[in-house]
Subunit: 419 residues, 2 copies
């Protein structure tokens, strides 16, 4: 079963947006064990889309399209695919209702062109869009199956997860299963070196490493005839990885982020959390609050961007700021000390640094960040030298702060156990 | 002159990397006024690359390829294009010297397979690679010109700037220029309806709309023989858009985000800013701090996730929380009142709501968010009904808060002017 991906959108051809949909779909197909030989981008143009469909239909079985399902005149993916498959467009009642409800919920009225989104090719399978109004569509022509997916990434991803993946799994002759072991604080080349013997002799399961800002993920993938068999292949490899990387692994569960693993750890230890941020400017708090249900342990955050705020809200001493500067180990230390005094939480994390692009000096260059953690009075500060754009430095600083919190909490817990 | 882009690399087809090269090349072509109708991604595979070249050569004049010029056995772009063009590979002396020097500078010796990179198709134009060892190549077959560029983005970009762009400019008959007008608070279909007369009769310049979370961008694009002439075509259309959308336009400048436009507005009014967040959990602050140089006006932020923090840090009354709840217009109001009392800034923004997935009730469903703004004592609260995932609701709440702040500040400024 060979697939290919067609992304429709003049904005991609103009370079206005980076085609993350193609990367997402490719990755998902690979996870499902479906080979993808081509990705094509074509504009919102009937003739050229028809030409692209013609080429794709000859060489692939499954053709995944994204984009061009919107309500505007530009959007013609559905119309063109229907034409290519010689199908009439008919109104899908459920989709019309969904559009009605979508607008009603927002206290808005659909305009005339919104109803266009309720049209689907005759005989097509319709997939609900839980993040938007354009339904997804699976339509066949001969041996080809065309999957029409919305362009906005959050709509596409949710629809793929909810509808496309289960469908593809149901028509695929074997099962591909993978499990990802996520490490933090290690470099990719270090992780790879530790795995070289396993990588060299790998057949089934295979292992591959992926680097993400401050993290390295190791994915174990098995192909088998059943879920059970695949699980059996994966299990010993994951055990081996745990033996090799120990506490550097923050999770071996699917979809658990570093912040979620920290939240789980704190919850199990019955500890509450707060944060104080300078250069990260709220990003640590925002990352934590991205974890559903965190309100039971995350109490408060301070964005103390000015020195005055650091002094007033966190009690950082004037002398400390004058002598060592806002970006210093001493300030980072006082930030978490004051934070716990103020919030009465068990754990506090803080970050202060220079995110750039301006503000760097020879002694304190852009990318110098201090992260600190206070666990029930025990304070640890870490000096980090981060690289990249303002955005990248801020994100990396968040990861450093979360990693530090995790290791400090683990240390505290092991101490409590040893007592 | 029609161009198309072919990116070669199995890692792109596996979804391991996002194809930023295609976006970069597309954008550069558009800036040069060269139309690009297709982007294709194909793996490191001779047969499929030949097939792709065949298709591209029929429909495009200029074919830009990236990737597959490395020293390993996998890399076969050059060999395959040479085969397609019926050219022999011969050693390019300058490239060999460059490789020698590159390794010598790093105190390393090239291995046998590195010399492969000095081979080029007979009669080809060679472009130096100042960020790596693979030379760029321009080779012709009939009316087609093939541009072979390295895969690593920093090598590709530098080579494009230094060699490809000047060459393309020398053979291109015109200039393309575009300007984007960004609106907030309007729906895409509303914007389009307001523009339908312009879209219907558009030729040069053309206009197109793009929806982004809470924002709609309108891009005006002109094609002309000179930069000056293109600017002259764009100007009246942008003026017309300003007349139609007025204050809903937050910028007509390139690369200005909503938060940047708010920061610029506040700076011009000499106003300082602070924020208090519940459901957005730091994301408003983090978004603002993403604007370089914001430290001169953004003073402090509070993430008051618990009721206790709302009371202690912002002075929200116990009675208010008990009677109306944390997610209420009254609490949102008290949050910004307390915020300004605490921070002594001119403007304060706050958000409180239910981001989900849990915590919703019939009266207060997931997505109910109150954003509030306090401009020197004048408080405005807006009730929003947002949809989607936790992540999407939080992001949309940030946009709502920034939009509210923008309109409240504008109102205050116009009042001050009228005084």
């Amino acid at each position: 079963m060979i697939a290919e991906i067609i992304c429709v959108g003049t904005e991609i051809l103009l370079g206005n947006i980076v085609n993350t949909n193609a990367a997402y779909l490719s990755e998902q197909l690979a996870l499902l064990g479906i080979t993808c030989y081509f990705q094509t981008v074509v504009g919102d143009n009937r003739e050229r889309l028809l030409e692209t469909l013609e080429i794709a239909a000859k060489r692939s079985d499954l053709i995944l399209l994204s984009g061009g399902l919107g309500p505007t005149q530009d959007d013609l993916t559905k119309e063109t695919v229907a034409e290519f498959c010689s199908k009439k467009l008919v109104e899908d009642k459920a989709s019309r209702k969904h559009i009605e409800a979508y607008f009603a919920e927002r206290g808005m009225k659909p305009s005339e062109n919104n109803w266009k989104q309720a049209l689907v090719p005759e005989g097509a399978r319709v997939m609900e869009n839980h993040n938007g109004t354009a339904p997804g569509i699976i339509v066949e022509k001969g041996d080809n199956q065309f999957f029409l997916l919305p362009g906005p990434p959050e709509e596409l991803k949710l629809m793929f997860e909810e509808s496309v993946a289960p469908y593809l799994r149901s028509i695929s002759p074997f099962v591909i299963l993978s499990q990802t072991v996520r490490t933090c604080g290690l470099s990719e080349s270090f992780v790879e070196q530790q795995l070289v013997d396993l990588i060299d002799k790998q057949t089934n399961p295979t292992i591959a490493t992926y680097a993400k800002l401050g993290e390295v993920h190791v994915r174990v993938t098995a192909r088998a005839e059943s879920q059970k068999e695949a699980t059996k292949l994966i299990k010993p490899m994951v055990k081996e990885l745990k033996a090799r990387f120990g506490n550097s692994i923050y999770t071996a569960d699917e979809g658990v982020s570093l912040e979620k693993s920290l939240a789980d750890l704190l919850r199990s230890a019955n500890m509450t959390l707060s944060c104080a941020e300078s250069c990260t400017g709220g990003l640590i708090a925002a990352t934590l609050v991205g974890v559903p249900g965190i309100s039971d342990l995350f109490k408060a955050g301070f964005v103390t961007y000015s020195n005055k705020a650091k002094r007033k809200l966190l009690g950082v001493k004037k002398g400390t700021l004058q002598k060592y500067g806002a970006v210093s180990s001493q300030t980072a230390e006082e930030m978490v000390r004051g934070l716990l005094a103020e919030t009465k939480t068990d754990v506090g994390i803080a970050a202060t640094g220079i995110a750039g692009p301006d503000g760097g000096t020879k002694e304190k260059p852009v990318g110098l960040v201090y992260v600190s953690c206070n666990v029930k009075g025990k304070i640890t500060v870490k000096e980090c030298h981060l690289k990249g754009t303002r955005e990248k430095i801020r994100r990396a600083a968040v990861t450093e702060a979360l990693m530090l919190a995790r290791s400090c909490v683990l240390e505290q817990l092991s101490k409590e156990i040893l007592k």
